[in-house]
């Protein structure tokens, strides 16, 4: 089987449709993951042991099991208890929950990495708990988190093909459907690879820049 450029141009518009959905899912998933992660991180710091334990175990469970299976669950099992989500919504929720457990770790590490001396200095300055958080801890914790968060953002982008299992017409699904129509796999799959590689390389450059800009805090 030979590489066929005409075929490539023919299927390009269809694939670009897929890229749009892929990017949309990634963006929405990232926003959700950022919020879910914050919730998990706060719950795990909570003095309420029952809450922090439960959330901790749930997060461990989500992180230790495949996203693919979770997506099946959200899409095919939840309707049994009356929760019927459109495919894209189900996909975004799956991505957001799954990656939320990762971003929670980033938040935790970012907060833990603020040296203990800063908490103590804040206390010696008689700042209240909320003043300490808003003026001292958060401003120092966030910049080092940015590269790590961006990293998961890219990882999520590369896992969007899983959404094809729940009938979201993202890039991979479009490619498969094209392949099924014409019985040619090489071009669509290679193009999908190329799309991912280009977007990833682009994001890696962005990531390096973020790392340089925010990765270190001068003391």
């Amino acid at each position: 089987m030979e590489w066929d450029w005409n075929f490539v141009w023919e299927i390009m518009p269809t694939l670009i449709q897929g890229v749009k959905i892929t990017i949309l899912a990634t963006l929405l998933g990232s926003v959700l993951a950022a919020i879910v992660g914050l919730g998990i991180a706060l719950a795990r710091r909570s003095p309420n042991k029952a809450l922090s334990r439960t959330v901790g175990w749930a997060a461990e469970f989500i992180r230790g099991t495949p996203l693919l299976v979770q997506l099946y669950f959200i899409f095919y099992v939840l309707p049994d208890i009356g929760i019927l989500l459109p495919p894209l919504v189900a996909g975004v929720i799956g991505l957001g929950l799954h990656y939320g457990t990762y971003t929670a770790e980033v938040y935790r590490a970012g907060i833990d990495n603020v040296p203990r001396g800063q908490w103590e200095a804040a206390k010696a300055c008689n700042l209240s708990a909320s003043q300490t958080w808003t003026h001292i801890i958060v401003p120092q914790a966030i910049p080092p988190m940015i590269p790590a968060l961006a990293n998961y953002f890219i990882a999520m982008f590369k896992e969007t093909p899983l959404l094809s299992a729940i009938t979201v017409l993202e890039l991979m699904n479009q490619a498969k459907s094209v392949a099924n129509t014409y019985y040619r796999y090489i071009e669509p799959i290679t193009l999908v690879g190329a799309f991912f590689l280009v977007i990833s390389l682009f994001s890696v450059v962005l990531l390096r820049w973020l790392e340089r800009r925010y990765g270190k805090i001068e003391r």
């Binding site: 095919y76 309707p79 495919p87 009938t167 498969k176 459907s177 099924n180 019985y183 040619r184």
Partner: protein, 256 residues
Amino acid sequence: DDSKLEQLKAQGFARLAIANEPPYTAVAADGKVSGAAPDVAREIFKRLGVADVAASISEYGAMIPGLQAGRFDVVTAGLFMKPERCAAVAYSEPVLCDAEAMLVKKGNPKGFKSYEDVAKDTTATIGAPGGGTEEKLALNAGVPRDRVIVVPDGQSGVKMLQDGRIDAYSLPVLSINDLVKKANDPNLEVIAPVQGAPVYCDGAAFKKGDEALRDAFDVELAKMKKSGEFAKIIEPYGFSAAAAMSTSRDKLCAAK
């Protein structure tokens, strides 16, 4: 040359692609492969001197590329003969014939009789296997791409219909019947056959270039059809041997 057959004989088994879509193909609880198509293939290969078959389950869309990539020796999965497919693979003579059906909610609320009806209702969505005959029939009938939902497997299709995610789910009649039996849901209704949709027959699909093997397969298939052994294998699954014997590859591949 018959080197491919010799190769299979030496190897002792032939690699089948199947789809796990009863009654065409099925995997039992103990992992044993059955279904009408693999059963026929197993018997014919035995007669050709290939002791056994090894089946791997594949998506419909991946079958022909897999065959071309040399992943399987033959596809026996209810892959209906159509002109484009005949161009891509080397089919045997017809094996299993079936009409198309649609699964809808009880009472057929949207009144579908044909794929065209689905196209006309601008809010209707139809589910079909990716790369399957039904997907193409729906698209050809004018249902826009975004209303043809690619459903990964039959079970998902039934579930999506029950949950109201799609308005109709289309598969061959016997497949739908099997699904409905398993689902055991009084709120489902089968429309069969779909009006305007042709009766299709599948054949064992070989790689282009393996015509010699295909011809040998055809010889044994013809003998079994004549002796009645063919009917004995497929009729318990609900297929009609007469239908397969009343048509031919050449007719089906030429059909518009």
